[in-house]
Amino acid sequence: MAVDRKVIFGTYVVPTRIDTMEEDSISKISFQDSPGKTLGGKGSAEIDTTQWNDAWTSMFHTQVKWEDLDHSSNDTGNRWEDSHEPWNGTLTLSTTGVPLTTDGTNCGFLYIKNTGSDKNALVSLTADSPAHYYMIIPPGGSICLRGNPGFTCSEVYVKASHADGTTIEWIIAQLTP
């Protein structure tokens, strides 16, 4: 049983330019003149020790056993009918937007990775009324952010950019009250 939880997170960006010879495959990769360096930042998000249920992450721990899923509280427990976790830890998206959760408490931390191989995943932070899918996650990419109090978990909507669909894994954690 956890007595406290947090998420350490970081971002790393490398803006580059690639100069390629016309008649050969020789190329040189260097930093863009501005900023001329790598960019990045890191932090720690305090999240609620008790999340609404195990679906705050899309995945199960590799050592989890069936008999560990014994929290029988309706809606907030971790039995299969309450947690709605995908068995393989990834969620398949179509072009119809879906919320990651209906939990209406403040969101403390959000991480989404596009685990697909071809199409983009789109993320809206404004629910579905109207949704603004302004965050784009290409295959293999991810986003992470801390939520400003007032921004709730149920406002996070996701969908695929193309009818072929894609898959995601995620963490969406309640803020410490």
């Binding site: 956890a2 007595v3 939880r5 947090k6 998420v7 350490i8 997170f9 970081g10 971002t11 790393y12 960006v13 490398v14 803006p15 580059t16 330019r17 690639i18 100069d19 390629t20 863009q32 003149d33 501005s34 900023p35 960019l39 990045g40 930042g41 890191k42 932090g43 195990d54 992450t57 995945m59 199960f60 721990h61 590799t62 050592q63 989890v64 931390f109 991480y111 990775k113 932070l125 404004t126 603004h132 302004y134 965050m135 784009i136 996650i137 290409p138 295959p139 293999g140 990419g141 991810s142 986003i143 992470c144 952010l145 801390r146 939520g147 400003n148 109090p149 406002e155 963490i171 954690a173």
Partner: protein, 132 residues
């Protein structure tokens, strides 16, 4: 000589849990691993717009990083000040919180309007980079 531009970026996180008060932090068993994404921003056609230090106030319109028509497709923002800042991608909903030293990086829709302000008041500074 042909020149192309690229932005490679990673966002990663490590969920941790404590099992006794003031004890050691362990990898959270609800997740079981560290998480990371690694990709290159698509369709970056030119060198980006970089500023090492830009002032942020409590009024979002004073710190607009991407306006309508700018068509930026990638944004990086780092809070280099000591006051918390919040970020919106749609001009009005400031849902992303950044404390000192924290950064946000994502590909964005060209229609996104990116603004930054302090919360709830005060001044801060950011390092930022946009590309399209």
């Amino acid at each position: 000589m042909a020149t192309t531009y690229n932005v490679r970026y990673k966002n990663h996180c490590t969920p941790q849990t404590q099992v006794i008060s003031d004890g050691r932090w362990y990898l959270d068993s609800d997740c079981g691993r560290k998480l990371t994404g690694d990709c290159s921003a698509q369709a970056i056609g030119a060198t980006g717009n970089y500023e090492a230090s830009k002032a942020v106030t409590a009024t979002g319109s004073e710190c607009e990083l991407s306006a309508a028509g700018d068509d930026y497709e990638f944004v990086f923002i780092k809070n280099t000040g000591s006051t918390d800042i919040v970020v919106t991608l749609n001009d009005s909903d400031y849902h992303i919180l950044l404390s000192e030293g924290e950064a946000f990086a994502s590909e964005i829709d060209p229609d996104a309007i990116v603004r930054v302000k302090t919360t709830p008041s005060g001044t801060s500074t950011i390092e930022h980079y946009e590309a399209k």
